[in-house]
Symmetry: C2
Subunit: 157 residues, 2 copies
């Protein structure tokens, strides 16, 4: 088991320029309850199953297992809750930390978020110029919630 400590931010779209083509992610959920998220993900040519427990602050228990891509494709299309999450993930290094920038498609088109993993909850990090508001503890941005309540349906202020 790993403890996942990460911070999530909105990306300023007028400032961020993609550095690569990104990797295509297709993911779905066998359970999207917050107590026991079970995620199936195909990322590029690999697939994995991830189980996450309750989030406490920015920390969450996480278990990850590689699975055959053919299994994942059947699980996603036939067993997972629908619809699926479809996005491209870009990776960039800034200030010695790897940032993952997710560009969502489909019902979440227009949403771009950046995540960074920390060694401890109080680790100080340098924020790249394209980083906007922090949304780490806003459940609307959990991928499991972006299915039920996609970005396109949010009321714009």
């Amino acid at each position: 088991m790993a403890k996942e400590i990460e911070r999530k931010y909105l990306v300023k779209l007028d400032t961020w320029v993609p550095q690569d083509g990104g990797v295509h992610f297709k993911q779905g959920y066998l359970n999207s309850q917050k107590e026991r998220v079970v995620r199936v993900r195909i990322e590029g040519t690999k697939a994995k199953l991830t189980i996450k427990g309750v989030t406490t602050g920015v920390t969450r228990s996480e278990f990850e297992y590689a699975v055959p891509v053919e299994d994942a494709a059947i699980l996603l299309d036939n067993l997972c809750e629908q619809p699926l999450i479809d996005k491209h993930r870009h990776k960039e290094v800034h200030g010695g930390k790897t940032w993952e920038i997710d560009v969502f498609h489909g019902d979440n088109e227009g949403l771009v978020v950046a995540e960074v993993e920390l060694a401890s909850e109080d680790e100080k990090i340098e924020l790249p110029a394209f980083i906007g508001a922090e949304v780490s503890s806003d459940p609307r941005y959990f991928n499991s919630n972006l299915l039920k309540n996609p970005f396109k349906s949010w009321g714009k202020a």
Copy 2:
């Protein structure tokens, strides 16, 4: 992916004599909805994660992955729906087929069922003397339902 074709029967307790000590099974569910059962099981010294789709007749899609026992122990105690299923599984060969006999404990104490896996839905099998009524398509006997509605709480006719 495997297709699981199995028949399940009640065991006549006055006729069945255990042939071995059985293997201890502790299992729980990260999802027990019929569309996407996600089961965590420790059996003896091994552990696995099993994902099952909808049952059609006596056939069901099944995906199985080995996981570390330490992970399974945390998943069972901290992430799975409670309570857990606790049982001993005995294996016996009769008429060339392997029968699995599950002796339940806890809230399902008193329930003993036998399962046999078939090569095809219409395969003819020889029933051992201890086999009682068939319950293959009775959802009350699904392990995932024995948690929500355990054997001890069933009204006896």
